[in-house]
Amino acid sequence: MKRSLISQVRFTRGCPARRIKQGLGLALLLASSTACMAESSLDVKRQQELTYMLKHDCGSCHGMTLKGGLGPSLLPNTLSSKGHNIESLSLIIRYGKPGTAMPPWGPVLAEEDIRWIATQLLETN
């Protein structure tokens, strides 16, 4: 029985992280301004953890600048030229790609984390 994956996804509107950051210094605001580009309910700390993970752990195969390695390039242009969107990327991150070295990250990441990463990949870097 194949579950509908998309229907499980809960969209979170607004950016609470943005509100949290208003009270913080300019340096932190600049440092994490990229992170808040994603509409997400993740707090700043989690966004920073995921940014670190994206760079270092995803980067161990896809390159620290995500331009590719053992795994393909994850630069926005490459992804959009392959027709990827948040849904398709979230599915790949969550379930991996059987037959390749891409593992399923579902066991270690929440759906919210996964969607945030997918959004980052399409918008920034």
């Binding site: 993970m53 991996g96 070295a101």
Partner: protein
């Protein structure tokens, strides 16, 4: 003037003698650091900033940082046989020749779009780099970094393949594997025209490889199936054979968040200690028969499985998200003898040349920690940014490293 007088007065020192010769030949300026020997030096890759740290394994300190090496998110290094130069292979396809004595970049070429590692030839005159993009292997003159050979790795499937597991082998040869098409290629530089021997259908997706310290056996680990591919370089005509086929016994693999690495260190006496892919196990293989003799349960999925220089201890680190752990196994009875937690992001270990200490990269802490291999006490902590690979100059004289 002063320097000349000083040198004449210290003729007893062999090191100074040789440096004097070097200086006069190259007419280098007289700087104190030119007299520094390199046998207890090493480099640590600072992966986030395109830098390497120059370290001394006797004084356990960072001596300098050398910048401008490009993207080092996945980097490795080999050394010239005079132990003066490190050749650093960066993710961005950069090949950088670093002078450990002047503490600067001697020269640098960006030889491809995306590289994974390299090797130096038996005679020290050639440096080979294996590439992901556009695939294949490029060979350079180790002195000048001038290109010598461009070898596209177009496999049986007609496609350019990513190349992995590139090592040097005796007889002025290089060996590497083709990830995409499942092949092992042997390139012989002993004659005027390099000769390539291709072994096809060696197994699915070789992800890395090692050569035994005696230079005889080349072993590629397979990602696409359970097993390893073995080439006996004393008898290359016999072809590649599969060892440990189906070691997973048909069980589902766990997700692999970091590819294991294979290096010549995995050999201890007549045993090889090999990371199992997607399992919390280290496989122990008899190197006489190349059959499995044991499997050791470990904390999580192993990445590096490294034997101490005397072969007595096996140190194991682990894949994300369990990469704060480090386990030590007795190579004799296969029992766990130590479990350390140096911090998040334990990426690499390197033993000092005779193994009294081991240096450990702890990425998230921005630290390299040095442990005593007898009592496991921490001997030193060095502040180094995002450290990953650690490479000591003693590698210069080891086959396959």
């Amino acid at each position: 003037m002063n320097r000349r007088i000083f040198l004449k007065s210290t003729l007893a020192s062999a090191a100074l003698l040789s440096v004097q010769g070097c200086n006069s030949l190259a007419s280098q300026p007289a700087k104190q650091e030119y007299w520094m020997p390199t046998g207890d030096l090493g480099i640590v890759i600072e992966r986030a900033d395109g830098k390497v740290a120059l370290v001394n394994t006797s004084s356990r300190e960072k001596l300098a940082e050398i910048e401008g090496l490009g993207d080092l998110s996945h980097a490795s290094a080999v050394f010239s046989r005079n132990e003066r130069f490190a050749y650093v292979f960066g993710r961005d396809g950069g090949l950088t020749k670093v002078d450990l004595i002047t503490r600067s970049i001697d020269r640098r070429v960006v030889q491809s779009g995306n590289s994974i590692g390299g090797a130096i030839s038996q005679d020290g005159k050639l440096v080979a780099v294996s590439n992901y993009t556009p695939g294949g292997v490029q060979v350079f003159d180790s002195e000048t970094l001038a290109p010598v050979l461009d070898l596209p790795a177009v496999g049986k499937d007609g496609q350019a393949s990513k190349t992995v597991g590139l090592v040097d082998a005796p007889g002025q040869r290089f060996v590497f594997s083709l990830f995409d098409s499942g092949e092992i290629w042997l390139v012989d530089f002993s004659a005027a025209e390099p000769k390539v021997t291709r072994y096809q259908d060696i197994g699915k997706q070789p992800y890395d490889a090692l050569i035994t310290p005696d230079g005889r056996y080349y072993i590629a680990g397979l990602f696409g199936e359970d097993g390893l591919a073995l080439l006996d370089l004393w008898h290359p005509e016999k072809g590649v054979r599969r060892i440990l086929p189906g070691y997973g016994r048909g069980q589902q693999r766990l997700p692999v968040y970091k590819m294991p690495h294979l290096e010549g260190w995995a050999i201890a006496g007549n045993k090889a200690f090999i990371p199992a892919v997607g399992r919390h196990e280290v496989l122990v293989v008899d190197t006489n028969t190349w059959t499995e003799i044991d499997r050791i349960k470990v904390h999580s999925q192993p990445v590096f499985v490294m034997s101490s220089p005397d072969g007595r201890q096996i140190w194991v680190n682990f894949a994300f998200p369990e990469n704060k752990h480090l386990q030590v196994i007795d190579s004799d009875n296969h029992r766990h003898i130590q479990h350390l937690e140096p911090g998040e992001g334990v990426l690499h270990m390197e033993f000092t040349p005779r193994g009294e200490a081991v240096w450990v990269s702890v990425r998230n802490n921005n630290e390299v920690q040095v442990f005593d291999t007898q009592d496991f006490s921490k001997l030193a902590t060095l502040s180094i940014d995002s450290p990953s690979g650690i490479f000591f100059t003693a590698r210069a004289h080891r086959i396959g490293l």
